[in-house]
Symmetry: C2
Subunit: 212 residues, 2 copies
Amino acid sequence: MEQRVTKSGRLTASEQKRLAILDNALAMLLEDGFDGMNMDELSERALVSKATIYNRFGSKEDLFLEVIAHSLKKNRDKIVTDDLASLPAREGLLKVAFELTSMFGRDDDMLRLCKLCIVAAERFPLATEAFLKSGPGQGTEQVAEHIKRWQERGELKPADPLLAAQQLAELSKTSIFDKRMYAHHGPMSVVRCHEIAEEAVATFLARYGARA
Amino acid sequence: MEQRVTKSGRLTASEQKRLAILDNALAMLLEDGFDGMNMDELSERALVSKATIYNRFGSKEDLFLEVIAHSLKKNRDKIVTDDLASLPAREGLLKVAFELTSMFGRDDDMLRLCKLCIVAAERFPLATEAFLKSGPGQGTEQVAEHIKRWQERGELKPADPLLAAQQLAELSKTSIFDKRMYAHHGPMSVVRCHEIAEEAVATFLARYGARA
DNA sequence: CCCTAATTGTACTGTACAGTTCAAATACGA
DNA sequence: TCGTATTTGAACTGTACAGTACAATTAGGG
């Protein structure tokens, strides 16, 4: 059932419908949350009969789980699989920090996904644990790997690389996260994101940098 | 209508009911969120007729606004109005950081209140902006004041005190916030909270401390 | 002690929405 | 081209819940 195709290589009508359901469900979830996602409206937007949705996904809750999994698959590797290794520590860290400030400060969909998971955490612990692991968790581990490499090169002091990566991630939320989460604050400017990333790296390097 | 009392000093029955409604509504909101708060159940729990609730508060949404305001009033001054001024910088900062790590790591009600505001941010921008201002906002400003004082005493380097306070707050969420927000992670141990606070202050002082 | 305003219980209205049913239509594999 | 499996639409069921109506009751100020 996974990615079944006709001999010509095109997606089956059936597969197209499946994706249409998942994509539209994700969009609706990000817009309106779980309770706000109306199954009748979903069937209209996905150009699919409501009966079909229930045939394929069973229930709204099961659909939710598949939507989150689907969304995680799409977002994977968006984070930090780059040429970071070749950069000097300061530049690499700045790049990471700027990616993070932009993510929280400018990517509305990501913010909505975070909110969605926070809300859903009680009702769907499995889905949101998957999100945590595959999203922030995986990202932080990758950053920790790079930090370790910079430590080995002598560009950073020896220290717990995972803790350092976590602190960098938190520093990159400064003056962004609260405003965007609790208030209805619109996206930050690129310039502001750069400023905050600079400050985050400055504090980070004060502790972890190798310079005297 | 505010805190009306009888001549004997006791609360009017009417006032008692008002408080019973607000307190129970808050408890239910923290347990089940806005949509999960059932007005019939509230009337049972508050030992009050549903008609009374609607007479006094108008609608569920108006009630929500008053509950948030009521809750903020109760939590005010819980944060940092202490003997901080008399402490040396390092100890004062540790105290603040530990208060913050404990708040996110151990206070379940506070966590639920945060979640509630995050969810409600779209539907009730005014309520959550009030929360942001009166909660994190006010707390950070108070910390910034203390930082300024330590700077003037020469215990900390001159630098933007507000930014420093914000960074300290973010550092104090390290390895706590995500787990508690996205996953269903139970409260952290006091020891762990101390560890994280220590690490936060270490990074903070590396940048802002006056020592060479 | 009396008058007014708040309070109560109960039953009701209306609505939004998840999930079902089923006969008719359609698509796909062979 | 044929037979099977999927899809469709539309109407339907059941439920949960916000909000209302109102006549009977109660509480508190003067």
